[in-house]
Subunit: 334 residues, 4 copies
């Protein structure tokens, strides 16, 4: 970490800063130029908050030289992490598709979709039991009953289950869930992340709506710092000024994340765009630039499915998409 | 709510839509023009999610005519809500200042600041016990011990206490806290909001970093739907491209919120700007455009305070600010 | 266009609105509901500005039903526009690569790159003569001399030339330029767009840094309204909160634009990301989701090229990229 | 400027960089740490582009220590610049209000408003002759005739005239205009800025919709580098995710700009919010935090004024606002 100090600082401020930094066991490298004084910190700066450092009176600018994440950092773990869930493998050159309905509605709906997406090659089944909704008056999901239905579908098809958690207190309900999803709005629910770090379940961590790549990696770090290294990152679109798509899918995050971290990264084109006809082209693009997988909404009766509608594909469209994705994979970025 | 349908829809889709809407007890008003068919819904559309409706194949555009929030809506509650906390009143023409350190560090620090800000006219004491930090390696606050210190300061000064909650499971620790703060990152932690709706504590709800005014009001609605109407809204800056300030304080939200809701609205210029010298001008601006109060960071020893630094005022600077704010209030927007 | 009126409007305001709209030859469809009055406008609403309509006292909400662009609208021109430039074809299933240095520096530099990218399959040569730079003290390009060097390279290689215009007054210098580029910062320089509408040159129109897809199409419409229908759209990244890439490449704009307009759309992965190692994966992703082409920076001596550096590929890396793009094209979205 | 180099760079790259920087006459200060090598540049770095430097292969991070603007920098010109226009003074503790209609429509309209706002204390008259409109089919302003009408109003009332230029080629028409406005969309029309730098007219430079404060100052620098130091900055709202206001007025930019530059800064609450009822509270807030003036839309017949409507005040409302602003000024931030 490099600190550029304000001009005309008081010697006492400088001495305070230096002695405080030394008390934290940093080795310091001070360089006084004509216009400015620069302090280089050598040591583990991951406990220092950039905002905090920048807010000190004497400090003009702060620049991190080394990344603040360690467990998630590829520099210290050059090999790809592969998360194994049942027969499915995510990461390390394996490409996995997670598919299923937005909300779990009934056993019949869920099992029918599960069997169909399994046949098309999906490796995991997704389905929402707890639904984060902007309005308290909107349907909040089947909750516990939704988890039960997911378990029934798992039993029937053998597909591992991915579903979203919304609060620590629900954790006991997730005992037989295979992959616990953390939604975009909870990406910085730090107490939840800490708790999930103490489980041994794979965690599917979605990027927040206006979060940066560094913030996503720091949230992964929260989970990993607790001992759970099975984190799957998910790019699902960020908030921009564009109104025609629900969010803007940030695909350059994929190859960038692959260089920064050893964790697998999958893409959610359904939520990112909110438009069914964009799911196929964006799935192909995600595969082309090196994603480790996709998470896609599939519904067997779109006209009646009121939680997802246009962002859901029919099982037929999903089958077509899965074939096209498999065809493009040999030509994808590696 | 008005739905504009896609051209060339199938009659079956249309029939499905109409019968589904009728089953929800909406009165419908269908108008077929040359270019498009428009369906007007009359009834309580608050349970309908705009995104969900827009994602239906047959629907081209959705426009809400009435606001999706009811309890928070000034239309149904024309009179200002006044939240009373001890001797302090927030809203309804009363102007309150909440002041204190970013993090609770020690009894001596906290009590010294508390006495000083009380003398300067602050009506409530703030201080962080649980700290949401981007990095798991950064100081996470004194937690339970911090709450204890806040209680000690309350006993000494009589000032009501405002402090942030980060998880439902910590609620028992907040039994004697006077105002529970929900931080920007938890504004859409819906399970937490629901739970707080079942308490009878005043809730200070901070706007999320990239949340809209409607989303803020919907989060207030989550709390109010549970029966707790003592919600204080807080504008604390939104994320923009500007890098020179930590966030961008959206002051036009103040008069706008005053017209949309009866709830009190206060402003946090310390976190919004992240720069101590901007706290005074932005406090004056907030007062001038009609805010119901301020929440301000004050520290008695800035050079050593490492969680807030430049965004914190000294007690002397705070005293000066409080005097200037009181002087401008008679000329403020009403 | 649909107008939702404010509740409790005055009859006189309503009469004024209606008579004004009738004077503009709109057919009106008024529907008074319990809660709100809705006015539907039938006719050509492209001359109405949504912001202006929304700012009328009596109007609560405005929603466009039909798109405000006509010449660029696929609805009225279902077939793809193909822009032919020399031997190159852009659009209509043809995939073209435009390549070259960021800035023109010397004849030797330019011709060497031109010959090399031609060999690798580029169909057009790009190079900046006029450079829009944030600082007035930074190198502003070789200007007229840069255009001369581009002409020399065209003569040698036969490659058509693409270069950026910054002001109407420079137009005479562009007489022999094959494709005139409008940069992101000039996307809403409406006087320049109008003037280009009166030329018969193909125009490469880059999306503005914080512009929406609708705004991009309206800027294309400015050119087309003047009679010049040879417009090539270019997605080159939008400004977001992500700091690790220069901008965020919005690839979902590609299939979306293909559905809204008949104009060809190409992608600039070099400027969008600002990082050389991301150019290949994003080129593959752009091809995979249906782009009509790429515009890529290539430099023969990166360590000395100080205007582009890391976002530039070497000719060898470009050759490799071009091969991989050609390999993926048969599997791309159609 | 400080450069942090990538680990494991090649010696040849390093030598190239150093010799190139030395050829530019920078004094260098190289410091090799354990983890990274840091190069400090001493000298005038204003000609170096940060993006360009960051894009070099060998460079990991770039941080400017000194501001890239010189003429606009308060550090080198500690005293406030006061722009005098006729009897009006802008800056240096003088508070000026510019008022008038959005678009010039007729002599009768303009003169009536001009006389009325003059009586209320406005020091300058604004009115649009050239109108930047998103759609080529929308009314583009009266253009030359609009300028003529502004001259007639100036003759009648003695008020200096402020109006927007959209292209260099229109400059001759602005010969008798007192203040030339550069609109938000042209803030980075660098060729226009350069040309205006060669005039001796005061320039009202509006901040771009998604521009940072540094970018605004660099655009001012373009004008000043040409010799014209009479630049008035204008904060007019930036694009954010908030949909309820047209833009988000960034008032913290006011005290921040006052510390960075000696140029006067005024605020446009009409365009920033797009809502008439927000103009008064935001005007009071702007005055309270230290703005040097306001630019406000006033219309004598809002129901018929179709270019501005709700964002325009009536002359009576403007008179009331002007009185309230004068009353709050003695209590404003200094």
């Amino acid at each position: 970490m490099i600190l550029v100090l304000n001009e005309n600082y008081e010697q006492k401020q400088f001495d305070n800063l230096i002695s405080w930094l030394k008390s934290k066991d940093f080795e310091l490298h001070v360089s006084k130029g004509l216009e400015s004084t620069v302090v280089g910190l050598i040591g583990d700066t991951s406990s220092l908050d950039t905002d905090m450092m920048e807010s000190l009176d004497i400090v003009k600018l702060v620049k991190r030289v080394s990344e603040p994440y360690k467990s998630a950092n590829r520099k210290f773990h050059p090999l790809d992490t592969v998360v194994e869930v049942g027969d499915a493998k995510i990461g390390g050159g394996n490409f996995s598709i997670i598919a299923g309905p937005c909300s779990v509605e009934s056993e019949q709906q869920l099992c029918s979709i599960a069997e169909s997406v399994k046949k098309s090659g999906a490796g995991l089944l997704r389905g929402g039991a707890f639904k984060p909704r902007t309005s308290p008056y909107a349907f909040q999901g089947l909750r516990q009953k939704g988890i039960d239905l997911l378990m029934a579908a798992k039993e029937k098809t053998g597909l591992p289950i991915v579903t979203e958690i919304m609060d620590i207190s629900h954790l006991p309900l997730f005992e037989n869930v295979d992959v616990i999803q953390v939604g975009a709005r909870n990406m910085q629910n730090f107490e939840l992340l800490k708790e999930l770090g103490h489980t041994d379940k794979p965690i599917l961590l979605k990027r927040g709506l206006s979060s940066t790549i560094d913030e996503l990696l720091m949230s992964a770090e929260y989970i990993m710092a607790g001992g759970n290294e099975k984190v799957i990152l998910c790019e699902r679109g960020i908030r921009t000024f564009e109104q025609k798509t629900r969010n803007t899918l940030d695909l350059s995050a994929i190859p960038l994340l692959k260089s920064l971290t050893h964790l697998p990264i999958i893409v959610d084109p359904s939520h990112a765009t909110g438009i069914a006809k964009l799911v196929e082209p964006m799935s192909l693009a995600a595969a082309a630039c090196g994603a480790d997988g996709l998470i896609i909404e599939v519904h067997n009766d779109p006209p009646h499915a009121l939680c997802d509608g246009q962002q859901s594909l029919t099982p037929e469209a999903f089958d077509d998409l899965a074939n096209k994705v498999r065809a493009i994979l040999p030509y994808a970025y590696k």
